[in-house]
């Protein structure tokens, strides 16, 4: 059994999770500070990928990154790089799809944060970045972790947008989800089932982790009271 799809899936999910970790936190932090109207509009736009069919996300991505479209053509011309149909093309897809998960979870955690703590830090002369990393983030740690794990789990299972932008090339762009589809299409039921089990095992572990985190969060909140 060729384990490349497992390796590729984890690699894609890990990289996009790292990207989304920072993007999601930054977005949650700065959007919370914008005026209400701007916040409402940005919120809708940033959450859209969560509810759009993955194929629609894939289509939109192709319209931007495809070799005959704006960004894709520019990269092809200046760097001779195709942004689609490589293993890392899937990162674009997963990043866009999992962004709302991270953004929403972190924003929820930030909203529960007592802003007076940040104010107190400021009047004590602590820098804004010190306050962010040493006070705000520790307080919101569990929310941020839960968001990260959830985003990773979702990235691992991304199929629609990924298959459109990266396609299915065995040993190259194949991920677990695209492999399962391919195997089922070619009537290799036994192997498809093996990959299904692998995928379910990983998701199970990840969701268990999320649950444990949430339980801890509740416990520590109860303690604080």
């Amino acid at each position: 059994m060729d384990l490349y799809p497992l390796y590729n899936s984890i690699r894609i999910a890990a990289i996009s999770t790292v990207i989304i970790f920072f993007l999601g936190i930054l977005a949650a932090y700065y959007i919370a500070k914008t005026p209400r109207l701007v916040k409402g509009v940005l919120d809708v736009i940033l959450t859209l990928p969560l509810v759009l069919p993955p194929t629609v996300v894939g289509y939109l991505l192709l319209r931007v990154l495809g070799p005959r479209h704006v960004v894709g053509a520019w990269f092809l011309e200046h760097f001779n790089v195709r942004l689609t149909m490589t293993w890392w093309s899937a990162i674009f897809a997963t990043t866009v799809v999992i962004f709302p998960l991270m953004y929403r979870t972190v924003r929820g955690a930030f909203e529960a944060f007592d802003e007076n703590l940040a104010y107190a830090g400021k009047t004590l002369g602590l820098s804004n970045s010190y306050i962010f990393w040493n006070i705000r983030m520790p307080y919101c740690r569990q929310g941020v972790l839960a968001g990260t794990v959830l985003a990773f789990a979702r990235a691992l299972g991304e199929y629609g947008a990924t298959s459109m932008i990266a396609g299915y090339t065995p040993g190259h762009t194949a991920t677990i989800s695209t492999t399962v589809y391919q195997l089922w299409r070619t009537n290799d039921d036994a192997l498809a089932f093996k990959w299904v089990l692998i995928n379910m095992a990983i998701s199970f572990v990840v969701l268990l982790a999320v649950n444990l985190l949430e339980k801890n969060q509740k416990k520590s909140k109860a303690k604080a009271r």
Partner: protein
Amino acid sequence: MALKVDIKKDLGGFKLDVCFEAANETLALLGASGSGKSMTLKMIAGIEKPDSGVIELDGVTLFDSEKKINLTPQQRRVGMMFQNYALFENMTVSRNIMMGIRNRRDKAAVREELDAIMDCLNITELADRHPSRISGGQQQRVALARILVSHPNILMLDEPFSALDSHLRFQMEQVVEETIESFGKTVLWVSHNRDEVFRRAQRIAIMDRGHIDVIGTRQEVFDDPKTVNAALLTGCKNILPAEKVDDTHIRLTEHNLVIEAACVPDGVTHAGLRMNFIRPVEAGGAQTETNGFDCNVIGETKNPFSYVVDLALHAEEKKPFIMMEVKSEVWEKIRAGRLMVGIEPDHVLALQ
């Protein structure tokens, strides 16, 4: 003056427009919740931005809308104690206090100062505990220590005792007062508790819907609140619609009674009669001539050491005309269905 504030901000419901000065003294801002007290502190601290105006502290301009000066909270060197103390739960007590001196280089000196302040506020044995594991009074000591080690130029306390049980409150008031004395700079004290303010502040500013109504020494403000709001906040329970008759007489319009007062300015709308200044008088005594009321007792409420007696002019009235506070032992002796009460003209407050 150490602190000069003249700021405006539109708060949606009302416009905050505050103007006052404070020397190296304890100035209390007394007001109902939502009157803009805390907002005023936050604007001085640089957490909220005024729409326009000037804030100066020890000759340094912290904010000036015309000169486009707006220092960050970090640059302002103001010490602010929040209502819930805002201690950092992810740090121990000693690390919390260290946050106030984090930016200094000399580690030995920092350690020394930390030990000194913890010793001074009696929290040395709490050093390694987390804030949620210590009592409210202890949390307040830690918050105070954390602010003091940052050597602020002003100390601002936002409802400092509202989260404390009443028995701890008095004790912590004393701790805070001692601290303030050794601090020796301007202290702004926001509160809605008139007792605490009367006990601890040198001057009092009464706030109402974003404005300072009355400002003066505590004696001035309590003796002559001048406005209905100030009278209410300083605990005056009997406030009756009234109008001026002449410079020493005021008419209670609802009951068409003319009573004598020490001084009645123009534009008086209400008369305030503090219930502890209303006293039962002997029939035929000196006060019955002018400020005596022949009243029916229509109800009484027992406090720990006193009674509040509801008095009406006519027996059939349900709503009390005035309320009188009498010591328990006095009332239990003279309790009657009908009696004469009086108030000295000096204690009749003419309010606008």
